[in-house]
Structures are given as C-alpha cells and as structure tokens.
C-alpha cells in the first residue's frame, strides 16, 4: 500500500490539510479527498480546461498538477469565486447572458476568465478568445461565453470607477 503524504495548503482562503498518494493529481485530491467537486475532469491530460484552478496566481489544469505540489500554495477553485455578498460579476454575466447550457465547462471558464480580467480589465475579443482557447466548450460555440466575459469586464470596471 503506497504511503501517503501530508499536504498543507490554502484553498479558497482557508488552510486545508489532506493526505494523498504521490500519484494522485491535484484534481483528484480536490474532488475525492477535499470534497470540492466543482472542478471537473474532462480529459485528464490538460486539453479541455474543465479542471482549471488558480495556483499561486496563475491558472493551471489541475489534472496535470500533482496533489503533493499543492504544499504551501494558494489555490482558488470555482467554489471560491463567489463571496457571501453574492455572485462574482463573471458568474452573474454568465447567467444573464445564457453563457452556459450543460454547465460542465462553466467552472473552468469562470476561473480562467477571472484570471484574465483580474490582470487585464479591458481585453479585446481576440484576447479573450486566445486566453480561453484551452477551455473547451461543446455546447455553446463560445459566442455567448465571449460576450459574457466582455459584459463582466464592463461591469467590473464600473464597480471600480
């Protein structure tokens, strides 16, 4: 029986401890050990983005990160995007603009979009499309997703103003 490693990390602003085998991915740890099932597995090889999380300030596909690598890191998952005050403007825009159909890719897109808008408040359509190119959606054809991100960018700028 492979021995387990004790990992201490910060997830969505809270300190979390868990035990995992070295071979378990961060995605598997989040879903099956920590109980945060919002990040999804679509391919397990970094090609669909459904498992996207923030990892020390950058977005990663958590299926390609090992659970043990989370030691000492700051991780934000979809579960950490909304606040007690309410939904994040990106989440709100996705709902108002009907930017989801089945919703399986939505957590990955929201985390990825937030990472973009946090560093670039006013991206062009092409910049948005390029940034999100590693998030696959099979239902929407991306049109409403791109528009929702544009819409969120506007409302986030208005809030700052």
């Amino acid at each position: 029986m492979p021995s387990k490693t004790h990992v201490q990390t910060t997830i969505n602003g809270e300190q979390v401890d868990f035990l995992c085998e070295p071979r378990q991915s961060l995605l598997e740890c989040l879903r099956d050990i920590v109980g945060l099932t919002g990040s999804k597995e679509g391919c397990n090889d970094g090609n669909c983005g459904a498992c996207t999380v923030m990892f020390d300030g950058r977005i990663v596909t958590s299926c390609l990160v090992l659970g043990v690598e989370a030691e000492g890191k700051e991780i934000t998952t979809i579960e950490g995007i909304a606040s007690p005050a309410g939904l994040h403007p990106i989440q709100q825009a996705f709902l108002e603009d009907a930017a989801l159909q089945c919703g399986i890719c939505t957590p990955g897109f929201i985390v990825a979009a937030k990472a973009l808008l946090d560093q670039e408040p006013d991206p062009s359509e092409q910049r948005i499309r390029g940034w999100l190119a590693n998030n696959l959606c099979r239902c929407t054809g991306y049109d409403k997703i791109v528009r929702a991100v544009q819409h969120a960018a506007t409302s986030m700028q208005e809030t700052r103003a």
């Binding site: 679509g42 948005i128 999100l132 929407t140 991306y142």
Partner: protein
C-alpha cells in the same frame, strides 16, 4: 405538388405572450456557476468503491479464454466480472442472435464481449477496488487469450463478398423481411417516388457525385459515468448522467434480466450528450460489481475510453445524382447511402433517408439505404443523426447544379423549396413548415450581400432538415401557499429545458417564470418520460407542463368559485388574476387564492401524462464566409450566420445557444474532426489533443436569426430546436471553399490535407 396558395410569413408568430419569449435566468443557474451542481461523477454514497474496465486492444478477434484469477487475488480488489456474469452470455461460446432475441444479445454483447471482440475498445471485463488506481493496476493482471481476425473498417469494403464477417448469424433485413443473405449488411431499405428514369430524361443538367465521410464523435466534455448500488433488498439504484433515465432503467433491467421495478435511476446533471449518452454502456458492469462486492461502485470513463468505447456517429459512403431543367426545376434525385453501423446494427441511415432531399419538392426520387457493420464502436446518435452526412452530399450537388445553371444558390433553393403539401422522398406529406421563410431570412440578411474582398475568400450557403421527435412525457404541478408552483418532470436537462418547460406552465397560469420551482426527478417519482433527444423536450414536456398547468387552472377556478359561492362557469383567470365575469368586484390574484387553499378544501395538484403528437419539423440554413490558405489548405471561418425555424422560441437565449452550438459542432465536423484508424483498426487519436474540436480561437461570433413559423401541433407553436443546426454547416463550408478557390470537396473532413489534395488535383 403544393395544394395550397402559399404566403410566406417570415415575420414570425404574432401572438404576444407574457413569459414565453422572454429571457429569465435559468432556475438551476446559481448552482451551475458556483460548482455546486452535482453531475454524475460528483456523487458519493457511503462505502463507494471504484470500477475500471478492461477493453480489447484488437479490432476483431475471437475470445479463447479469460483468466481473472490474478486480478481477483490482487490486494485491494473487491470484485471482478466478465460477460459470464451477464445472463444468457457464455464466454467463448456462440451467442444466440436469432430473431426476437437479437436486440437483447446485441445489447449485452456491447456491454461486455462474450464470444468475439468486435472493435478496439470493446469491454471485456470489469474490476472494482476501493482505490481507483488499484483497480486500474488489476486490469493489467487479467489474461485474455485472443485469436486475431482481420478487421474491416469501411462500408464499401464491408459490403463486398470477401469481407470478414462480424456476426455470423446476421442476415440482411429488408424492411420486415429477413433474407437469407449473410454478411455485414444488417439492413437495406428503399424509397421510391414517381418515376426516376423519366425524371432524369426531363433534366437538362445532371450532376452525379460520390462522397465519403469519417467517423466523428459527439465530443461532450463530460465522460460517461455511472454509480450503481445493488442493495441488500435486491433493489438496484443507479446514479448517472444520461439523456434517458427511463431508457437506462429499461435497458439495465433487460441486460441483467431483472424486473424494471427493481431498478431506480436518479438522473444527475449531465455535461453534454448530443445523442451519445442514450445507449447502455457500463451500467450493468457497475451493477454486477456492486452485487459481487456489496458496495456502491462508480465507473467514470477516461477520455480515451469515451472515444473508443462509446458510440460515435457513422462514417459513410454516399452517391447522389440530381437533375434539373435549364429553368432551374429539379426533376429527379437519387441517393445511395451506406452508413457504418459499427459493431452491431443500428446506424441512423433511415433518418438520413428521410432528410436527404427533404428541403426540395421533387416528384421523382429513389433512395437506397444500407446499414453496414464494421469493426468500430457501435454507432450512436449525434445531433440530427444521419442528416448531416446526407446534407453534406445533397447540398453540394444542389450547389453544383445551381452553379451550372447560373442561378443564385438561394434563389435555386427557393424555386424548389418544399412547402406544406409537398411530398418527402419517402412519401410522407409535409405539414406547415418554415423552409421558405428561413431561406428568405438568409437572402435578406446583410451577410448575404456584404462585400467579401480578398484572394482565396468565398461565401457558401446550405440548408438542412430534421424531423424532430416526441415521446411519452409526464408532469405534475403543486401549488404553494405563496403563489409559486413546484413542477416535477422527468426530462434530463442538458441545455436549459427546465427553464423552457417552466416558462410554459407559468404562461398558462399568469405567474412569472421565477415563480416556478422545477425539479427533474428520478424514475420512481414521475410517469414514464422518454429521453432528452430528438429535440423533443421543449415540445413534449413543455406540452405536459402546459396541460398540467391547465389542470391546475381548472381546479383553482373551481376553488375560487367555491370561495365566492358562484358557478365556476363564470370565473376566469386572466394574467394571473381570477375574476368573475358577472361580478366585477370579485377578484383574487393567483397567490391570494394559493394562500387559502388549505382552509378551503386542501392542496391543489395538476397533472398530465401522455405522448404528445403534432411534432413540427425544423429547417435551418447558414451562410459561411471562409478564407483558404493556398499554401497549407487551412480554412478559416471569417463570418457565420445561421437561420432556423423555431416555431416559437420559448426562451430566445437558449434557442440562440442551440443554434450557435450546433453550428460550431458542424464547423468542427466539416473542417477537422475524424477518427484516425490504423490498418489494424486501432484508434490513434483518442484524445482531445488529436481529436481536435473547435476552440474559442478558431471561430468568429455566430450570428443567429430565429424564424418563427408556428407549429400548429403545439399550444405555443414550438418546433424542436436542438438538432437541425448541425446539418447545414458542413455543406455551407464546402460551398464556400468552392467559391474561394474553385475546388469541390467530396469528403469530410475538409481538413488542410484534404484541401491541399483537392487544390493539387485541380492543377
């Protein structure tokens, strides 16, 4: 052969509604944008263990023996199953594929192979352990002895005399007649209309072409998943992301030979399906592992397993011949359609035959359809199954005819457009349809006349048809004291149908969409509801929701009458307010009445359960602008517009979303997607890296035009919208490529290599 005076009405349905046609936020929205919504892989009953499946590496082989002893002995393994554990199947023995038992034998045979493996990826055994990595290790300890057989991978090869035979007992079926012809042709049917030979004699121009398309996957982002608990009381509980919980219940019960009442299926949220999540795959394996281990067992497919082990849409070989007069009238059409069914019979060639010439009013036609076995996974439905392949072929030939005659491609289609009263090639007469309106919408759209400048750029147009479906459905409504309603239905919600169903009930009762609390429930708690497919839910479950709401309305009217001590005949409900026709003082809002229910007789519930008829078929058309790189063959989509007759768009945002999503799937199918098989029949591109679907960077915005020609068969005029939008994009792109660089594409996908080859041949 139109019999009515025709007046196209592109502007749309003129009835104004209060809720129908608006864009409320979907009721399940908050959960879906916060990661709270539970999809099939998220479920976690107490004692859960994990299953993994051993799959055949070979495309065609006899199973001589399976030795699972080492796997069973592996520390941590709690159960191992093979086809021996399925009733009626013997490992290595012959399977009874005789008449009547065929479908069940095919069903079980695809779940786990008994005597032969018929495709690379065919399931052979299942293992369960508490640790999924241990289960996966144990797969490597199962010893299977195979006797390799040659595979056959394409319909034309498989139909020939010397082809390796997949199912020895199969005999070709010809619409109800079991012939004595052995081989790989499962079915042959033919439609004839008029006199084809005479029709071609009347033609001044004839175009005849042969087309080939490849196997394509639906590409849903969520892999198949199932969690099964075969409990000590004999009841089997299944949690799964499926398009058809009731179909799963029935199929699992059949496969395991247990009564349907022993099986309960809880539909979890589903991450895409497009037809690929209807068939039965690993559910019986999870159930058997649960029975043997005494634990709930979860199986989630890897992406590679999804590509290899689930049902893609068939590749095809097609020949289309069409003739027209110099005035532009199509006089004859002939289609030969040979579709790859995969390892077991059941390709959508029948649907393809219904759709191939459906946009046109043609008096003389013959269609021959063949369902052909090949050593690939058993095919499954993919969004308007069969219609896309057929339209790619027919719309290319139509474009060539128009070109040869010097007639504008939209005008040519309008000249020949099917209208109410025209006959489809299979003989069925069209009811009120909206093809003309859809074509006019495209013709009058700014895209059609917008300048397109620059070398290697071109514009193409195409149309498509889908029959749409219905089926049994059920709905119950319960009135809450605060004037909201709880609505219970059984249609798995893939794209937002909870919203469109709720809105129809809200419209009837004069309440807001937000006042409806919809629940998609399990198979124990609602009347039989056929699956979410065929673009049927907004139609059939919308209808039962509408009728259940009418049922509530009648009872509420009777209750108001009781309270007012007048006859119910004089009470009406108008925009959410009950009032008396005879006494204007008597008024009560829906919530005011709801508040009083328990004190005035008790709660009120409404219900409806039946198979709604009156399905309206749908047409869609699209305009594509492309730029072709003459050095690489890459095709960029510069601009894309899709128009579709929705009958009545209940929630326009979700209708637009369906149109855009289907269009993009069609673009992927047209320009890039295919299964690459090597000569041994092994799939070589079973990952999202190499099975390359469109990303956000590959596409422009997708402009939509919702045309509304109401379907007289539905109270709000609904036509199913989910599917037809995937049909016209591949031929529109082919026609655009021709306009751009002068080459005709006769195969899908039109990837850079294919375009370069066509350009090379042109030189």
């Amino acid at each position: 052969m139109t019999t009515t005076e025709y007046e196209p009405n592109i502007v749309l349905s003129t009835t104004e509604y209060d809720v129908v046609g608006t864009r409320p936020i979907r009721p399940d929205g908050a959960d879906k944008v916060t990661g709270r919504a539970l999809y099939g892989a998220d479920v976690n009953p107490t004692g859960l263990i994990h299953g993994k499946i051993l799959r055949s590496p070979h495309a065609h082989a006899r199973i001589k023996s399976i030795d699972t002893s080492k796997a069973e002995a592996h520390p941590g393994v709690l159960a191992v199953v093979t086809a021996e554990d399925l009733p009626g199947t013997k490992l290595g023995g012959t399977v009874d594929y005789g008449e009547g038992k065929q479908d069940l034998a095919y069903l079980r045979g695809n779940v786990m192979a008994g005597d032969k493996v018929l495709y690379a990826g065919h399931a052979v055994a299942g293992v369960a352990a508490a640790n999924p990595h241990v289960a996966e290790e144990a797969l490597g300890l199962i010893e299977v002895e195979y006797e390799l057989l040659p595979p056959v991978l394409k319909a034309p090869d498989s139909m020939g005399g010397g082809a390796p035979v997949l199912l020895e007992h199969l005999r070709t079926e010809e619409l109800g007649e079991r012939t004595d012809r052995a081989g790989n042709i499962a079915t042959h049917f033919r439609h004839t209309l008029g006199d084809l030979e005479e029709g071609f004699k009347d033609a001044d121009v004839v175009v005849e072409r042969e087309f080939n398309t490849q196997t394509v996957h639906q590409g849903y982002i969520e892999p198949q998943n199932v969690t099964a608990l075969w409990n000590n009381d004999g009841r089997l509980h299944i949690w799964t992301s499926s398009q058809g919980p009731f179909e799963v219940r029935g199929a699992v019960a059949s496969a395991l030979d247990i009564p349907v009442s022993q099986v309960k299926v809880t539909p979890m949220e589903i991450g895409g399906g497009f037809g690929g999540k209807f068939p039965l795959y690993h559910d019986p394996i999870a159930a058997l592992l649960s029975k043997k281990s005494g634990h709930p067992v979860k199986i989630v497919m890897t992406r590679k397993e999804v590509f290899e082990g689930t049902g893609p849409t068939p590749g095809s070989n097609m020949k289309i011949k069409m003739g027209a007069t110099s005035n532009g009238k199509i006089t004859a059409a002939h289609a030969y359609l040979a579709f790859e069914a995969g390892a077991f019979p059941g390709s959508p060639v029948g649907a393809a035959a219904m759709c191939v010439f459906a946009p046109y009013d043609i008096s003389n036609a013959v269609i021959d359809g063949y369902d052909v076995l090949v050593n690939k996974p058993k095919s499954a439905a993919y969004r308007a199954p069969g219609a896309t392949q057929a339209a790619f072929a027919a719309e290319t030939v139509v474009d060539e005819l128009a070109g040869k005659l010097g007639i504008d491609p939209i005008e040519f289609r309008l000249m020949n457009a099917a209208k109410e009263g025209a006959r489809r090639a299979d003989g069925v007469v069209h009811p009120r349809i909206g093809l003309v309106e859809t074509l006019v919408a495209l013709r009058d759209h700014p895209h059609w006349k917008a300048p397109l400048e620059g070398p290697n750029r071109g514009r193409g147009v195409a149309v498509g048809y889908w029959v749409n479906g219905s089926g049994p459905s059920a709905c119950t409504i319960s009135v809450n004291a605060d004037g909201t309603i709880n609505l219970t239905e059984g249609s798995a919600d893939i794209g937002g149908t909870r919203a469109s169903v709720s809105m129809q009930a809200a419209e009837v009762l004069g309440i807001r969409a937000e006042d409806v609390r919809p629940t998609v429930t399990d198979t124990d708690n609602i009347g039989y509801t056929s699956g979410t497919g065929g673009s049927s839910v907004t139609f059939k479950t919308g209808r039962t929701a509408h009728d259940a709401a009418q049922n509530v309305k009648e009872q509420m009217i009777a209750r108001a009458a009781t309270i007012w001590e007048i006859s119910p005949d004089t009470v009406e409900l108008d925009k959410g307010v009950f009032h008396s026709r005879t006494d204007p003082e008597l008024k009560m809002t829906f919530s005011e009445l709801a508040e009083q229910l328990n004190d005035t007789g008790g709660p009120i519930m409404g219900r409806s359960a039946f198979s709604p008829t009156g399905v309206g078929a749908a047409y869609a058309g699209c305009i594509a602008d492309v730029e072709v790189d003459p050095d690489t063959g890459k095709v960029d989509v510069l601009r894309f517009t899709i128009a579709q007759d929705a009958g009545k768009a209940i929630h326009p945002s979700y209708v637009e979303g369906q149109m855009q999503g289907g269009a993009v799937q069609g673009i992927g199918w047209g320009l890039n997607e295919e299964y690459f098989y090597n000569t041994a029949g092994e799939l070589t591109n079973g990952s999202f890296l190499d099975y390359r679907m469109p990303t956000s960077l590959d596409l422009p915005m997708i402009d939509t035009v919702i045309v509304e020609v109401p379907n007289p068969g539905h109270p709000f005029g609904v036509r199913g919208v989910g599917e037809v939008n995937i049909v016209p994009p591949p031929p529109a792109l082919a026609n655009a490529i021709h306009a751009a660089v002068g080459v005709r594409m006769y195969q899908l996908p039109m990837n850079p290599a294919a375009v370069m080859e066509a350009l090379r041949q042109q030189k």
